[in-house]
Symmetry: C2
Amino acid sequence: MKIEVFETKERVLADNESAARETRALMRERGTLLINLMGSPGAGKTSVLSRVIPALGEFRIGVMEADVDSDVDAKTVAALGARVIQLHTGGLCHMDADMTRRGLDRMGIDGLDAVFLENIGNLVCPAEFEIGADLRMTVLSVPEGDDKPLKYPLMFTIADLVAVNKLDTAPIFDFDLAAFKARVLALNPKAEIIPISAKTGEGCAELASFLRSLIEKRRRGE
Amino acid sequence: MKIEVFETKERVLADNESAARETRALMRERGTLLINLMGSPGAGKTSVLSRVIPALGEFRIGVMEADVDSDVDAKTVAALGARVIQLHTGGLCHMDADMTRRGLDRMGIDGLDAVFLENIGNLVCPAEFEIGADLRMTVLSVPEGDDKPLKYPLMFTIADLVAVNKLDTAPIFDFDLAAFKARVLALNPKAEIIPISAKTGEGCAELASFLRSLIEKRRRGE
């Protein structure tokens, strides 16, 4: 029984990889940057978008809000002036490449410089499924603890960018930023790690600047 | 392709339910209470155990620590004097009934009054898989936000007990406890909701008292 599950998963993953490749080619052709935004429930993915989208005001941004249920995040993001679509996964714990592609088709990417897919809040499953993103961005919040790379290594291994959010609460939670960074870099030496607070705005300009350079590169066809 | 995934899942869930029933019968026969402890990464599941196990010092407690990787939580709990086993799920985002049963066999439940299964940090998948527990206990921490029942409804629908942890940080995070409670109770009118702080100890005596009455009932064969 167990073997059947794993076989199915392998088949699903192989199909997924091929759909992800198509999305990656499409985004490159259209000059749009696709960002897979991941993190635990409550890490602050939507709050980070609320800082980053206005800071990238010179670009046209789309957001696909994936949730098991509800549309509270989509409403928040729509108020920022981004093009927004709400995706419901019907209980599934992650987005896959096919669901992402259908979301992009439905929302429409004409005229968009960048699209964020805000994935389901989850440090496990979204890391296993390529969606065809140009950037895998993980938000880890200080209250979750600096030991998370030890417990959820895949997420931190595949992340291109880790935003450490709620930095203003670091003294309360005894979060050791140096230890956290060392744990991420041990798994993934190329990871970019940017400490921020979506509440106070600290570090958000640096984060926006990092994203800006990627969006500009994509517009130049690089 | 998609349909195949769902079919597999249904088969898996049917098998899972039958394994869960066996575990439930076994625990009843042996007079041991099984608690499925769930919550997001960093919600404080281990910290809650660190308060509750000493408070239940009159009972013999076992803990199965399920993680994708690492054994940091198992070491913490072993220091409390509980019988502990570390379970690695090899990338899987939840425990199922078969994995739980094998964990119980391996650890041994002889002489134990209660066993906590500390599930993978995840608000989605663990809620879908019955493990045969007598009590489904979810830890939601204040920094995650009071909107989580809207976004992850299944977890709060199936929880018998919700411990709202890190209550000492409520003023910092603008957490609305009344709104959170109303959202949980709308999904699940019978849910017991106990606000606590594993850091300060607030509410932990009430939580221990709730668990004590269930353990005592189980010992009496009820």
